[in-house]
């Protein structure tokens, strides 16, 4: 029996690894398939609440539905900034809040960003929220931190507090969320380039750059 034992162990481990890998792949793949690859954004990207960074007339629009408490969105935010520098005036970034209900402070963070936006500092708050994500995500009272960030980026904090509770910020967050839901989005970040969804498999620097280059060349990306 001892003679066969190493063979049994190796085959057992091989099968267990392959099986668990296949199960994990299947689970993740099913989640990813939930993203509507066939749904393009409508041309209606001119709503008042739209937050644009970069050249407003850029030929390529990188549009993101993001959740401020989602770590991958934080990674993507840093990458998007690189992309804007790299492509200069040829790419603009549009951000839509899509707070996932699984994230305790995500909606409050979206309200904070919108409240900052009402004072003309959406992107400053956007950057601080992602940069400090690890701190406020675990804080029992994230709102206190948001208010301190508001002070740091030079907002009128009293106005910021009022706006966070106001109808305007709430309406903007709700409108973005409703828009995302109408597109069938349930994962963040979900990215569109010139209205076409980026395949989840291409949600990496190479894939996004390739899609932008294709859009610049006037070709539909995969």
């Amino acid at each position: 029996m001892k003679r066969y034992l190493p063979f049994i162990i190796v085959v057992g481990v091989g099968l267990a690894t392959f099986g668990s890998g296949a199960m994990l792949y299947h689970t993740k793949h099913s989640q990813l398939q939930a993203i509507p690859e066939d749904k393009a954004l409508s041309a209606d990207t001119s709503s008042e609440s739209m937050h644009v960074r970069g050249n407003p007339n850029a030929p390529v629009t990188l549009e993101e539905f993001g959740d401020f408490q989602c770590p991958p969105c934080g990674s993507f935010a840093a990458f998007a900034e690189e992309v804007l520098k790299e492509y200069d005036s040829r790419v603009r970034l549009v951000f839509h809040s899509f707070p996932l209900s699984a994230h305790e402070h995500a909606r409050e963070a979206s309200l904070a960003a919108e409240a900052a936006g009402l004072q003309g500092h959406f992107w400053e708050m956007h950057d601080v929220l992602y940069r400090e994500q690890a701190a406020w995500s675990k804080a029992p009272n994230a709102r206190e931190l948001f208010e301190s960030y508001a002070g740091t980026i030079g907002l009128n904090v009293d106005q910021f507090k009022k706006d966070m509770d106001g109808e305007q910020a709430k309406a903007r967050v709700d409108a973005d969320k409703a828009r995302g839901e109408s597109l069938g989005i349930n994962l963040t970040p979900t990215i569109y380039i010139n209205g076409q969804p980026v395949d989840p498999k291409d949600k990496n620097p190479e894939g996004v750059r390739a899609a932008i280059n294709a859009a610049l060349a006037g070709k539909p990306h995969a």
């Binding site: 190796v10 690894t17 792949y25 991958p72 934080g74 990674s75 990458f79 620097p205 190479e206 894939g207």
Partner: protein, 146 residues
């Protein structure tokens, strides 16, 4: 403790460490195959590392090659622990190649990408541990085949 028993223990530890590496590399392989490199356990730099052009070799995710390498080390270390005399040289060969590949990937992360993926660093630590354990294995006496 006899030299033979000491060797058996060391190869058993190598096999266990390789199992940990296999789990890590399998997870990264699934991430790469599903395109989920963004959400590599919440680590911001994983996106830069795994999504870079260095994350694939001829279209094959490097993590998959890593998983195969760890499985090979596990296999040969298991046979070595059971006293198969032909196995140790294969463990050393594969572990040596993994050690060199790890040095390259650490260089890529540090100097080319300026970003570190925590799963890749964990894998690097495991590879160094395997290399250290193999160096500690005393030389065998000839004819100790099972």
């Amino acid at each position: 403790m006899t030299v033979s028993r000491f060797r058996t223990i060391l190869y058993t530890i190598v096999a266990i460490v390789a199992l940990a590496g296999l789990a890590d590399a399998t997870y990264l392989t699934v991430q790469a195959l599903t395109g989920e490199t963004l959400s590599c356990g919440g680590s911001p730099d994983c996106f830069r590392v795994l999504g870079s052009s260095y994350g694939k070799l001829g279209g094959i995710p490097v993590a998959l090659l890593g998983a195969l390498a760890y499985f090979t080390v596990f296999t040969f270390a298991t046979f070595a622990a059971f006293g198969y005399s032909w196995a140790p040289k294969f463990v050393a060969l594969i572990a040596g190649a993994m050690f060199l590949a790890t040095l390259w990937f650490l260089y890529v992360q540090a100097f080319l990408l300026h970003a570190y993926c925590r799963y890749c660093l964990f894998s690097a630590a495991l590879t160094f541990l395997i290399a250290g354990l193999l160096i500690a294995v005393p030389p065998s006496r000839r004819g100790s085949a099972a």
